[in-house]
Symmetry: C2
Subunit: 273 residues, 2 copies
């Protein structure tokens, strides 16, 4: 076991301090000496794209990813075309902000046909790849926990995500491993090894018991059941040495002062990641 000993790879995913604006998050990271940040599009929109870029640069931060593109399946071709356009804007924003990776939360089915929706995801990614590549943005498919299959994403295992990614070069499409989404998977370590060379991001949080809420029930690292360090080392063995994003959806954590959350997050990062 090789523990993490410094904060060189630590990234604040903005959702963890959801009550902070982008400017507040950037300044908070600078104060806490967290070198990376993952941005959310709604926060970028609030601040404005040019201004967001300035805040990030002023704080001396690197952008680990932009959250999120995706939401591809829709009932009609016209609606799907609208989603594609929105994803092109997300790619533009990622390029402008210097985010190498656009995280894809692929979206739920518009009806009961989950297999059809999965095909729509594949078609949409195929359509976006040339646009993204021209702008040097890599599409990062993030498999979401199966409990989100009906409402957020029909891509629910690392195996699925990797199978799609394998249709492209690692400079075009890869996968994002979030411990909260994949920790339960009986194939986890096999699939991490299979995704070697295609892992574009690693997200940490914890699965707390009892789980207070399906969406806002994630815990701080160390408070739950996930073997985070073991998964991190598997991801590293598969070649990933990039930023480690702390991404926690939790109302209680959101309600705390952001500086306190960052201090706790740094402590837990060394202890449990």
């Amino acid at each position: 076991m090789a523990p993490l000993t410094d904060f060189g790879r630590l990234s604040l995913n903005q959702i963890t301090t959801n009550n902070w604006s982008l400017q507040e998050a950037a300044e908070g990271c600078a104060r806490a000496e967290v070198p990376w940040i993952a941005l959310w599009r709604n926060k970028v929109e609030e601040a404005g794209l040019a201004q967001s870029k300035r805040f990030i640069n002023d704080a001396g931060l690197k952008v680990s990813s932009l959250c999120r593109g995706g939401m591809f399946p829709a009932a009609t071709a016209a609606e799907r075309a609208v989603r594609i356009e929105d994803n092109k804007r997300a790619i533009d924003e990622a390029a402008e902000l210097g985010a190498e990776v656009l995280v894809l939360v692929c979206g739920p089915a518009p009806d009961r046909d989950i297999l059809g929706a999965r095909n729509m995801v594949e078609d949409a990614i195929a359509e976006l790849v040339p646009y993204a590549q021209e702008r040097s943005v890599i599409l990062g498919i993030e498999p979401l926990h199966p409990m989100y299959a009906a409402e957020r994403s029909v891509i629910n295992t690392l195996a699925q995500a990797t199978t799609i990614a394998e249709g492209y070069t690692p400079q075009q499409v890869g996968v994002v491993v979030d411990v909260f989404h994949v920790w339960w998977d009986p194939e986890l370590y096999k699939q991490i090894a299979r995704a070697s060379g295609r892992i574009l991001g690693f997200h940490v949080s914890d699965w707390i018991v009892p789980t207070p809420d399906m969406l806002l029930g994630r815990g701080m690292m160390g408070d739950g059941m996930i073997e985070i360090s073991r998964i991190r080392q598997a991801v590293e063995a598969a070649g990933y040495q990039g930023p480690i994003e702390v991404e926690i959806f939790n109302q209680e954590i959101w309600d705390r002062p952001g500086d306190d959350v960052l201090a706790e997050m740094k402590k837990r990062y060394l202890e449990h990641c």
Copy 2:
């Protein structure tokens, strides 16, 4: 598509009318002409084993399964031995009640070591098989939805359950397919085909959106996202022609009069299963 046209395979899983005692459920099934019932051990205990058997016989019902054995992983060997003893009592009860199948909800890990807990499950099943076989009870491994991995079962995919079952004859160990637990699985149809000849039960309900609760958020068939009929036909193509249990954990449904629930369940069964 071959629709269901009669109620010959319909089984009321007792949890669907959780406010009913075993006697009330048995009499309710008789009134509604539902030929099968799946019993829960806590309800059997309340009524007494001999009395339970009498209620079932008086109502002219067949028992599709007994819920539930399992809960195998524990921190110490002594605790695991207690679980094994409890499962032997469950096997005795299944035999006495004429339930061919004891459904196994295998249990969560006692700590963060999910792989270790999975090994404990395999060890426990191996220990129970001879005891169950002597009493003509088959152990039915039910994979539970990954959102229950931390609190209810470390067996979370049909692939996992089938791999364990394949270590035994189909008269010793098989799998139980519950649409709520498996509908999201990208490997679902492949794994149902693989489980051919080893499927011991088929459970239906629905995944409603938004999901009101992680445990008590299941819906009546037709109210949600699951392609129930498609899954049923895959299970039949894999050789299963046995009872179809309606198993719904939902406080609102529990609060309705049981006779109304059974009437609705019969209607939805023909329309959506």
